[in-house]
């Protein structure tokens, strides 16, 4: 899969940009604050409808403008034309010139994996960051997962609203509990299936890029231990105190362990960094395995943070993306771009919101 064309209007520091990209390895070179990461952000936005910097739409609009436009042509098994427009007054998203009605139909037109400094949150951050990682991966591989997750969120919000009433109607509460359990069990089932497939990929990736011999293991810790119905009923008393639903997939945790010890608690800074990258590599490997073609890899300055040994562990993944006619985008400053990557690089100079092929 690769992105053949990118078009930006009033996005971040780009007034207008139209650029064609071939498959292969693209290096975006330039000084700080020239707009290198903004290119990655736009590509990530098309794939996931979110910014990986965790900001809302208004922050991505060029200063003083009303809205931004991001569009592109993704070439995978077929060709897809993506157009999105955002302003405070309206949002538009179209795939192949048809407005997108269901997001489940949209995801998959463009698949990306990003490597960025925010990845460290996967290890250090709250469990929400890890659930989001798993949810994105499942949404990228099963079209039915996202609607399921949205339905679950709706049932959860409704149930919480009931719990916040002064005297909740027990029968109404029970009918929403039924929905919550039915949808929640399905989510748990899909997560249970995913983690054992992801864990060995992450372990291999970790071993490849780390200097030490620690064994990485991912362990799914569902908030529901055995029976959602029974445990939900048991939590009723505590629910009355907290006035919100206390168990369910929205409280799940994915434990990251190095030699059976929690990486978040006992890992060194370097180990955490390596672990975050290993998770992303596992994501890319998993997507490649499922879809038969590599996702587009977006690498934001992470290489600069790694020593040569760790960098070289990342190389096979990047080279394979290259061989399978995949695509890699990587931002670097002139000093730290990885010369070991060889000759086949397509180099771009990013300067003040414009791209120039070198």
């Amino acid at each position: 899969m690769h992105l053949a064309h990118l078009r930006l209007r009033d996005f971040r520091n780009y007034p207008r940009l139209d650029v064609d990209f071939a498959p292969g390895f693209h290096v975006l070179l330039g000084d700080n604050a020239q707009g290198k990461t903004n290119i990655l952000e736009a590509i990530y936005l098309m794939a996931t409808l979110r910014s990986f910097r965790g900001v809302g739409g208004s922050q991505m609009v060029r200063h003083g403008q009303k809205g931004y436009f991001v569009g592109g042509k993704a070439v995978g098994q077929g060709e897809h034309e993506i157009k999105m427009y955002w302003s405070t007054a309206e949002r538009k998203l179209s795939l192949d010139n048809q407005p997108v009605r269901k997001l489940g139909d949209y995801f998959g037109a463009l698949r990306v994996v990003i490597f960025c400094t925010e990845d460290l949150q996967l290890v250090k951050g709250p469990s929400r960051a890890r659930r989001r990682f798993i949810d994105l991966l499942l949404s990228q591989t099963y079209p039915s997962y996202l609607p399921l997750l949205q339905r679950y969120a709706q049932a959860l919000r409704s149930r919480n609203a009931l719990l916040k009433q002064r005297t909740p109607d027990d029968a109404a509460l029970e009918s929403f509990s039924n929905e919550l359990v039915k949808l929640g069990n399905e989510i748990i089932r899909m997560r249970v299936e995913l983690i054992p497939k992801l864990s060995p990929l992450a372990r291999l990736a970790y071993r490849r890029i780390s200097n030490d011999a620690e064994e990485l293991r991912l362990e799914y810790q569902p908030s529901v231990k055995k029976d959602f119905v029974v445990e939900l009923a048991q939590s009723r008393r505590r629910e009355q105190t907290y006035r919100s639903t206390l168990i369910g997939p929205h409280r799940d945790e994915i434990l990251l362990q190095l030699n059976d010890r929690s990486a978040a608690q006992f890992g060194s800074e370097g180990q955490k960094r390596t672990l975050a990258i290993a998770l992303k590599m596992a994501q890319a490997e998993y997507l490649t395995g499922i879809h038969g073609s590599a996702p587009i890899l977006l690498i934001d300055d992470v290489m600069g943070e790694l020593d040569v040994k760790r960098r070289s562990g990342l190389l096979p993944l990047l080279e394979r993306a290259h061989h399978t006619r995949g695509q890699v985008f990587m931002t670097c400053t002139e000093e730290n771009w990885p010369r070991e990557l060889g000759r086949d690089l397509q180099r771009w100079e990013v300067k003040a919101g414009a791209l120039k092929k070198l």
């Binding site: 049932a155 109607d169 109404a172 929403f176 929905e179």
Partner: protein
């Protein structure tokens, strides 16, 4: 900038409270009305008042009607043992168009929606319960939507309405008629598979 005369501004304000009418549409309608023939506008106003005065909800089923009880509730050819439960009066029209349902109706007037502050007590469930005691009802067909709130409400009703000798069913959902599998999303297919039936 000169502002609009007060009566026009008032009209825009009133019109924009109608469903599906935004500020732009309201302005266009208002400007059209104040420039039309006075007799036409008068006729429109009369039609509005007339429609509102003559239409009421049926005291039995809750549908929109000119006389209460409505023609469907008083029609002896309809099967009084069979009640179809719908969310809104307009759903009756959809089902009637299919021409296959020969029972009577009951309009719930919404669905349980904690996020919008709609409790079971805000729905016409009590009315249905009293119908169960006075009418020879054998089966209730729940015909609510399949979103989370529709599902939860159906769940709730099945429990609350349960009594000996009363069948409670829910309309099937699955593949749309006359289309191929490729057009169905996964959730629909999952439901359709779960609700499969023996070939006759």
């Amino acid at each position: 900038m000169a502002s609009l005369p007060q009566p026009i501004a008032d009209l825009i304000g009133t019109l924009s409270r109608l469903p599906g009418i935004g500020p732009r549409s309201a302005e266009r309608l208002a400007l059209h009305l104040v420039q039309s023939d006075a007799s036409e506008v008068k006729q429109l106003a009369e039609t509005l008042v007339n429609a509102r005065e003559r239409v009421q909800t049926c005291s039995i089923c809750g549908s929109l009607t000119e006389q209460s009880p409505c023609t469907m509730c008083s029609d002896p050819r309809r099967d009084a043992a069979l009640i179809c439960l719908v969310e809104r009066p307009t759903d009756i029209i959809s089902i009637e168009k299919s021409g296959t349902f020969r029972g009577k109706y009951h309009v719930l007037g919404g669905k349980i929606s904690p996020l919008n502050g709609v409790d079971p007590e805000d729905l016409r469930i009590g009315e249905l319960e009293s119908r169960l005691t006075t009418e020879p009802i054998k089966e209730i067909v729940i015909a609510l939507g399949t979103d989370v709130e529709g599902d939860a409400t159906s769940n709730y009703l099945a429990k609350r309405l349960a009594r000996p000798g009363l069948r409670i069913t829910r309309i099937a959902h699955g593949l749309p008629a006359g289309s191929g599998l490729e057009f169905a999303d996964e959730l629909t297919l999952t439901h359709a598979l779960a609700g499969r039936r023996e070939m006759e």
